[in-house]
Amino acid sequence: MTAVPAPAGSFPAARRFGAVLPLLRGVLALAAVLAAVELIVIALGIRPYVLPRPSAVFEAILRTPAAYRDAIIRTGLETLYGFAAGALFGIGIGIAFSRLRFLRETVFPIFIVSQTIPVIAFGALVVMWFGNTILAKSVIVFYLTFFPVTVNTLLGMRAVDQKQVQLLKSFGASEGEILRKLRFPTALPHIFVALRISSALGLAGAVVGEWFGDTTGLGVLLLQGMYAENMVAIWASVFCSALLGVALFSAIGFAERRIVFWGGSDA
């Protein structure tokens, strides 16, 4: 695509391989760790209810693959909806806070107070208001994700070098143009940091949200496993949650590299 070919990018196949390589390395590392755990468990004779063999965990997943697949999809959707809403809201309100002092001084403290309430405390309320719907879980995810994004957006918007602002002003740029071309791009690396943090928080929120009366999802499988002290089932849902979390995190990293091409936190 570029005029100057990079060494690895000279051939499409090589370039594609270059993109897959880190993923492959990750999978190999994970496989090595799991194999090591398997050997340690067998060698030390660790009892299955302390730590089950990874192969037993995979067997459990493969015995009812549809249940785990549905759970991943359901929890993934809950997280995605809530996270998208939380991210958009957080960015929007963060920008608004940076521009409107009045709003910042009146609404921001309420946000802070809202974050001091543990999600477990209002989980029952969410069920009363939204029922057992995917919306209820997404609301919990939203609640956990919007705040870090708001704080970091505000921080990023204010991290602008005032000399650059004055320079643009001297060229006759409007406030709107300065926002679009300077402040927002400056804030983007900060925003992506918040998005990464929020993705993990949001997933945890979705899992816990499912503890308030639901029938599908990783949180439900986890709860069922805990109730029956079925360690294999617990680890199976932990593993699926980890997969989902890594996928979300990587997707955000990928978006960041594309959007903050000049180098953000990932540089």
Binding site: Y81, A124, V127, L135, L223, M226, A228, E229, N230
Partner: protein, 337 residues
């Protein structure tokens, strides 16, 4: 396009979650039953009644909502979020009535205490008197009062005993850090059996020591019941039929619950259903049939809660428990054939 598929997915999932099953005839009354926990054999009779269309026969389009930790069934029924509930037990009904929640108990599923206290057969605790010097764990959500009452009824002073709150796992007991552990007969006891072996366990059953604590109570909101007495009646009738079918064909019942929650362990669910059958058919239910409200047993449990000042004073049991709906069904129709 993206937005549309997002909305349609959201809509589809939301409606699937709310309706639960394809909508049937238009004139069915939409109602819901909130369970005390996630789907498992403990509740399969309700799923059976739904699968066989017994609720629909009574004019009800019933959705079964699972419970979870921190979800109080009484609250959800009192606020109208759910129509019916299978709530914690007589203890949670007492507490709800004391708080003034507008709910009534219309049936009791577990006729006797569903949990026991367990020690090791070769351990230091061989009889109740040995609790004195043992380390004991129990749930501080009601089970502790049953234990206190058992000890008091047998002249033992609990104030000098080492009684700690029990966490989720029974592992401390298995590993010998704890001498006496609390276990529901259908869940934790199964875990203990698989880890320690039943022959190595000793059970202390509250009923053997003169204490009983009926649990798993069917509740309904007062306003709704006043407006729809015939539907409450229908709900109870359909539930009884579902449970009798469950006990008549347990294999089919286990298949049904595993379809609902596929990751559950079949052997454990089979054991659970056997125990649930014993608990549901015990006491007054043995002669009067399923969901019998034994005011004698309720009164005793109530007295424990008053004695230990969990309740500030006695509550009006006649108002809190209403057996008209179960009584309207002849005992013969509430007993297995």
């Amino acid at each position: 396009m993206k937005r549309r598929s997002f909305l349609s997915t959201l809509g589809a999932v939301a409606s699937a979650a709310m309706i639960g099953a394809p909508a049937m005839a238009e004139d069915l009354e939409k109602v819901s039953l909130r369970l005390k926990w996630l789907p498992q054999a403990q509740f399969v009779g309700f799923y059976m009644a739904k699968a066989k269309g017994y609720y629909a026969d009574e004019g009800l389009d019933l959705t079964i909502n699972p419970g979870g930790p921190n979800l109080l069934t009484e609250n959800l029924v009192a606020t109208g979020s759910d129509t019916f509930g299978l709530s914690g037990g007589t203890d949670s009904v007492f507490a709800a009535i004391e708080k003034g929640l507008p709910i009534t108990c219309i049936g009791i599923a577990h006729q006797e205490t569903p949990f026991v206290f367990v020690s090791k057969a070769d351990g230091p605790v061989q009889e109740l008197a040995d609790f004195q010097d043992a380390s004991i764990t129990t749930w501080f959500t009601g089970a502790n009062y049953v234990l206190y009452a058992m000890l008091a009824a047998n002249g033992l002073d609990r104030s000098t005993m080492n009684i700690q709150p029990q966490q989720v796992s029974v592992t401390p007991f298995v590993d010998g850090q704890v001498d006496v552990v609390t276990a529901t007969r259908y869940n934790e006891y199964y875990t203990l059996m698989t880890r320690v072996g039943e022959e190595n366990l000793k059970r202390f059953v509250p009923e053997d020591f003169g204490v009983s604590f009926p649990r798993d109570t069917l509740i309904v909101g007062n306003d709704w019941a006043a407006e729809h007495p015939e539907l409450v009646q229908g709900f109870v009738r359909a539930s009884v039929k579902g449970w009798l079918d469950t006990f008549a064909d347990k294999g089919a019942a286990i298949d049904l619950i595993l379809k609902e929650a596929p990751t559950l362990d079949r052997a454990h669910q089979e054991f659970m259903l056997d125990e649930i059958e014993k608990i549901m058919m015990a006491g007054a239910a043995a002669t009067d049939g399923l969901f019998a409200i034994d005011m004698d047993a309720v009164g005793k449990a109530h007295q424990i809660m008053v004695d230990y000042e969990v309740l500030e004073g006695p509550i009006d049991l006649g108002k809190a428990f209403d057996s008209q709906y179960v009584d309207a069904i002849p005992a013969a129709e509430r007993l297995p054939k």
